[in-house]
C-alpha cells in the first residue's frame, strides 16, 4: 500500500518538477531579462521548466553586438577642447559630435531590439548604469562606444575583472578625472566613486581611505590618442594607509582590497536584485546570493542564474516600473515593429528620462518610481496612444455617415499620424498580429501583454485584437 502511494507520488513528481513556466511565466522571464516579449519567444519558453528556461537564456548570450556600429567609431578623433579653432569650426565640430552621439544612441537601441540575446544588452545597460560614464563630460563618442563594447564583452563575466578593466577605460578615466590625478595634486573623484558607487556603498569607508586611495591611482593616465598609459614619474610611491593596511599600494592593489570585502559582493547583488527582481529586497535571499557571488570569486553568470531561480523572482510580477527603454524597445519587440529612424526613438527615450550614454550623474538613473512623473507618464501614454490608435481596428474609428467604413481614409489618416510622429513604417496591425499569434480573446492578449491584471477591467466580449489598445494604455502596462 505504502509502496503504491509512493509509486503514485513518484509518477506525479516529474509532472510537477517539469511543469512548464507557461505563457505568463515566459512573458515575465523574457520581459525582465530583456526588452518586452514577443509571442513567438513566449511560446518557445512556455513549455520549459524554470531551470530549463533560465539555462536556455544563459546559454544563448552573445558578447558582441550584431548591429554594425556607425563607421566613425573606428575613425581617429580630435581631442575635445582643441585650441586655435574659429567659432565656425567649433560649431561644426560640436554639430558633428551631436550627430555622432545620436547615431550611437540609435545604434544601441537597435541592438536591444534585434539582439538574439537581449540579456546581454540588459546586463550591458545594468553595467552602464553601475560604472557610469556620460558623453556630456567624456566628450568623445568613440570612447563611449569603446566602453559599451567592453561592458558587453564582460557583461556576464567576472565582476573583479570588469572592475579592473573599467578603471583603465579611457571614457571612465575622463569621466571621473583619473587623468587629472597626479602625485602631489591628487584628484579624488575616481577614488571616491569607486568606493561609494562601484563597490562598497556609502558608510563602508572613510574620507581618509578615499584620500589615500587617490594617491594609489596616481600615474594612471591617457596618452595623446586617449589610450591608457602608466606614467611612473607621476605615481606617488609613498606608503598609504587604506582600510587600516599600510604599504606602497597602486591602483590595482586598491581594487583588490575592495574586492576582498564581502560588502562589495553584497552591494552589487542588492543592486542587481533591484534591477531584475523587485525594489524590496529579501534579506535571506540577498545574504545567500551575495555569499555565493563572493565564494564564486565574483562570477556574474552563476549569480544571475541563482537569482533568476529564486521563488521571489517568479513571484515578483508587476513589482518594477518599466524603464523608458524597457517600455519603448519592449513594445517594439512585442509587436515586431521597427522604426525607420532609431535616432527618433533615442530622442523619445531622452524625453522619457533615459538618455542612453548620458546618465544624469555618476549615480546613474535612480530608476523605479522616479521614471514616472506627470510629464513622462503622459509622454509614455502619447507614444502608446499613437501606436494603439493604430492598433484600434481601423473600422471602429472611421465610420461614415451612411454606416459604411472608409478604410482608405482610415489608412491615410494613420499614415499621416505616423509621418508626423517620425515613426512612419511602424505598422501595428492588431488583426494581423492577433491572427499570427492566435490571440483570440481579451484574456489571451492580457496574458501576453500585462504582468498583472489591468487596472481598468476590459469590457466583456472584446476580441484579442480589440483588447490591444486598452491594454497598452492601461496603467498596468507601465509595470512588469
Amino acid at each position: 500500500m505504502n509502496c503504491v502511494i509512493r509509486l503514485l507520488l513518484l509518477a506525479l513528481l516529474p509532472l510537477q518538477a517539469w511543469a512548464g513556466i507557461g505563457e505568463a511565466g515566459a512573458r515575465h522571464l523574457l520581459s525582465r531579462t530583456g526588452f518586452g516579449a514577443n509571442p513567438a519567444q513566449i511560446a518557445l519558453y512556455a513549455p520549459l521548466s524554470r531551470q530549463q528556461a533560465v539555462d536556455r537564456l544563459l546559454d544563448h548570450v552573445s558578447y558582441s553586438a550584431l548591429t554594425a556600429p556607425p563607421a566613425w567609431v573606428n575613425e581617429p578623433f580630435d581631442r575635445p577642447g582643441k585650441t586655435n579653432l574659429s567659432e565656425d569650426e567649433k560649431k561644426a565640430l560640436q554639430k558633428e559630435r551631436n550627430e555622432h552621439a545620436q547615431e550611437l544612441r540609435g545604434w544601441w537601441l537597435e541592438e536591444m531590439r534585434i539582439s538574439p540575446s537581449p540579456l546581454a544588452e540588459k546586463m550591458t545597460l545594468f553595467w552602464h548604469n553601475h560604472f557610469v560614464s556620460a558623453l556630456d563630460k567624456v566628450g568623445v563618442p568613440q570612447l563611449m562606444y569603446q566602453q559599451n563594447v567592453l561592458l558587453r564583452r564582460q557583461a556576464l563575466g567576472n565582476f573583479g575583472q570588469l572592475l579592473h578593466t573599467i578603471a583603465r577605460d579611457p571614457a571612465m578615466m575622463r569621466y571621473l578625472d583619473t587623468v587629472n590625478n597626479r602625485k602631489g595634486q591628487p584628484n579624488e573623484n575616481f577614488a571616491r566613486e569607486v568606493m561609494e558607487l562601484f563597490t562598497l556603498g556609502e558608510g563602508h569607508y572613510s574620507e581618509q581611505d578615499i584620500r589615500q586611495a587617490a594617491r594609489a591611482f596616481t600615474g594612471w593616465s591617457l596618452d595623446k590618442d586617449f589610450q591608457f598609459v602608466y606614467r611612473p614619474n607621476l605615481h606617488d610611491n609613498g606608503d598609504k594607509t587604506i582600510f587600516g593596511q599600510q604599504g606602497n599600494f597602486d591602483g590595482d592593489d586598491v581594487l583588490d582590497m575592495l574586492l576582498r570585502k564581502p560588502q562589495t559582493a553584497r552591494f552589487v547583488t542588492l543592486k542587481l536584485w533591484k534591477y531584475l527582481v523587485s525594489p524590496a529586497p529579501n534579506e535571506a535571499d540577498i545574504q545567500r546570493l551575495s555569499a555565493l557571488f563572493y565564494r564564486d570569486n565574483y562570477e556574474i553568470r552563476p549569480l544571475l542564474r541563482a537569482m533568476l531561480l529564486t521563488p521571489a523572482f517568479w513571484n515578483s510580477q508587476g513589482q518594477l516600473v518599466k524603464s523608458p527603454v524597457e517600455l519603448t524597445v519592449g513594445t517594439l519587440v512585442t509587436f515586431d515593429l521597427t522604426p525607420p529612424d532609431w535616432r527618433a526613438l533615442a530622442g523619445l527615450n531622452r524625453q522619457l528620462g533615459q538618455d542612453v550614454f548620458n546618465p544624469p550623474n555618476v549615480k546613474g538613473w535612480p530608476g523605479g518610481d522616479a521614471w514616472i512623473n506627470s510629464t513622462t507618464l503622459l509622454t509614455r501614454k502619447q507614444f502608446l496612444d499613437r501606436l494603439s490608435h493604430d492598433a484600434a481596428p481601423i473600422r471602429n474609428s472611421f465610420v461614415m455617415a451612411d454606416g459604411q467604413m472608409d478604410e482608405q481614409r482610415g489608412r491615410e489618416a494613420r499614415i499621416r499620424r505616423l509621418v508626423q510622429a517620425g515613426l512612419r513604417p511602424i505598422k501595428l496591425q492588431p488583426d494581423e498580429w492577433a491572427a499570427i499569434y492566435h490571440v483570440n480573446t481579451a484574456a489571451d492578449a492580457t496574458r501576453l501583454l500585462l504582468a498583472v491584471p489591468p487596472a481598468q477591467p476590459l469590457p466583456a466580449d472584446m476580441t484579442g485584437a480589440q483588447a490591444i489598445a486598452p491594454l497598452l494604455l492601461d496603467p498596468a502596462y507601465q509595470v512588469h
Binding site: 556609502e202 525594489p279 524590496a280 508587476g318 513589482q319 518594477l320 516600473v321 524625453q351 528620462g353 544624469p360 550623474n361 555618476v362 535612480p366 523605479g368 518610481d369 522616479a370 514616472i372 512623473n373 506627470s374 510629464t375 513622462t376 507618464l377 503622459l378 501614454k381 502619447q382 496612444d385 498583472v452 487596472a455 481598468q456 494604455l473 492601461d474 496603467p475 498596468a476 507601465q478 509595470v479
Partner: protein, 395 residues
C-alpha cells in the same frame, strides 16, 4: 497663544470667504493659500556679476575683462549694485519689495552641477543623499488642502526638483495641451496593487485632478485689457511665457502652493557677458511681469519669489572671458510682503586669488523662513537640524 491667534484668524478668514469670496486671497491666513514661486537659474548664475561689489578694487582686479564698469552698475548701496540688464527690478527695489541675499550657500559645497542641485532640491547636507525633494517632505507631513489642483506646478523643466519623490506635482507648458493629453490618464481604481502600480495610479490621479481643476476654471480673459490700469507688459521669451502661463492658471482660480520656473543657460564658462546680460534681462523683466500680473489679481501680497541655482561662480574670471564653478552666490527674494534690502554678506574679495567664497546665509535658513514665516508651517523636522530663520518678511 500663537495657536489661538492663528485659529481666530482662520475663523475670521473663513467667514469672509463665505461672504466675500473675492477677498479671500487678500485676507487668507498664513498657509498654502500663499504662493511660493521658485526660480531656478540653471547652470549656476554668476552672482558676482549680478549683485556687483562695484566699490571693490579687488572685484576689478579679479575680473579685468568681464567686470561690469562702475558707471553701468545700477547702484543699490554704496558698495553693491545690480547688473545693468536688471533695470526692470529697480522699481520693485525702490518699493522695498526685493531682498537681495548675498553669500547664499552651504558648508562643504559640491561643485558638480548634478550633485549640487540635488543638495539644493533635497535640502540635504553635502554628504547626505535624500531621495525626496524638500517640498515633498513638507507636503507629506503637512499636506495642502484637498481643493488644491496640485501641490505644485513645474514650468520650463521636466525635472520635478524640490517636488520630486511623491509630491502632487504636474509639469506644465501649455495648460490646454495638458488638459487634452490628460484624457490619456486613467481614473484611479481602488484595490491592492504593487507599490510600482500604486505610484503610477497616483501620478495618473494627480494629472486628472490638476487637469480637471484647469478645465473647471476656463480661461477668463480680462474684460477689456486696454482699459486695465495695469496692462501687463508684452511677454517675450520662454521665461516670460512661463510667467504668463502661471498667472493665467492662477487667474482661473486654480489653487497650488508652489510653482517652480526654470531659466536655463547660466553655465557660462566662456564669453559670459552677452549670455548673462540676456538672461538677467529676461529674469528681471519676467519678475516685473509676475508682479504686474499678480497685483492685477490682488495676490502680490500673497506671492513670494525665491531664486536659486546649484552654485555661484569663482570670483576670478577664467581665461575664456567666463567663470568656473564656485560656491556662495547672490539670490533674490521678492514679493508684496518682503522686507526689501540687502542681507547676508558682500563677497569678501580682498586677498582672494584662486579661492572660493565663504557663505553667509545657509540656503536652508531661507527654506525655514519660507516654511515657518510664509506658510506658518513647522520646519523643525524637515532639514535634519534646525536652521535659524531670517527676518525677511512683513507680518
Amino acid at each position: 497663544m500663537f495657536q489661538r491667534r492663528e485659529f481666530l484668524k482662520a475663523m475670521g478668514a473663513g467667514l469672509l470667504v463665505s461672504v466675500l469670496p473675492n477677498l479671500s486671497y487678500a485676507l487668507a491666513p498664513a498657509g498654502y493659500q500663499r504662493l511660493l514661486v521658485l526660480v531656478e537659474l540653471k547652470g549656476g548664475n554668476d552672482g558676482l556679476n549680478t549683485v556687483i561689489p562695484y566699490s571693490s578694487d579687488d572685484y576689478y582686479r579679479l575680473r579685468p575683462s568681464i567686470g561690469i564698469a562702475r558707471p553701468q552698475v545700477l547702484q543699490l548701496s554704496e558698495q553693491v549694485g545690480l547688473h545693468p540688464a536688471m533695470h526692470s527690478l529697480l522699481p520693485l527695489w525702490q518699493n522695498h519689495e526685493v531682498a537681495v541675499l548675498q553669500g547664499v550657500g552651504y558648508p562643504e559645497p559640491n561643485l558638480s552641477h548634478f550633485r549640487s542641485i540635488e543638495i539644493w532640491e533635497t535640502a540635504s547636507a553635502s554628504n547626505q543623499y535624500l531621495g525626496e525633494g524638500w517640498l515633498t517632505r513638507l507636503f507629506r507631513s503637512q499636506p495642502t488642502p484637498p481643493g488644491f489642483a496640485a501641490d505644485g506646478v513645474v514650468l520650463s523643466s521636466q525635472n520635478l526638483g524640490p517636488l520630486d519623490g511623491g509630491a502632487r506635482a504636474v509639469v506644465l507648458s501649455n495648460p490646454q495641451d495638458f488638459a487634452r493629453q490628460a484624457k490619456l490618464a486613467a481614473d484611479q481604481q481602488a484595490g491592492a496593487h504593487s507599490s510600482a502600480l500604486s505610484h503610477i495610479l497616483k501620478v495618473e490621479g494627480d494629472i486628472r485632478t490638476a487637469a480637471s481643476a484647469l478645465q473647471q476654471a476656463p480661461m477668463k480673459p480680462p474684460a477689456n485689457p486696454a482699459d486695465a490700469p495695469t496692462a501687463p507688459p508684452k511677454a517675450a521669451g520662454g521665461f516670460a511665457q512661463a510667467i504668463n502661463t502661471l498667472a493665467d492658471i492662477l487667474q482661473n482660480g486654480t489653487r497650488i502652493a508652489v510653482a517652480r520656473i526654470t531659466l536655463t543657460g547660466f553655465d557660462t564658462h566662456g564669453n559670459q557677458q552677452p549670455t548673462q546680460a540676456r538672461l538677467l534681462g529676461e529674469l528681471a523683466d519676467g519678475l516685473a511681469l509676475l508682479k504686474t500680473r499678480m497685483q492685477a489679481q490682488g495676490r502680490w501680497d500673497d506671492t513670494l519669489v525665491l531664486s536659486y541655482a546649484e552654485f555661484g561662480r569663482r570670483p576670478r574670471e577664467n581665461g575664456n572671458r567666463g567663470t568656473d564653478h564656485g560656491t556662495a552666490n547672490s539670490h533674490f527674494l521678492l514679493g508684496g510682503r518682503v522686507k526689501g534690502g540687502l542681507y547676508g554678506q558682500t563677497a569678501p574679495l580682498a586677498g582672494l586669488s584662486d579661492g572660493n567664497l565663504p557663505y553667509a546665509i545657509d540656503f536652508r535658513q531661507l527654506y525655514s523662513t519660507v516654511v515657518q514665516d510664509w506658510w506658518g508651517k513647522d520646519a523643525s523636522s524637515l532639514f535634519g537640524q534646525r536652521f535659524g530663520r531670517l527676518p525677511l518678511l512683513r507680518a
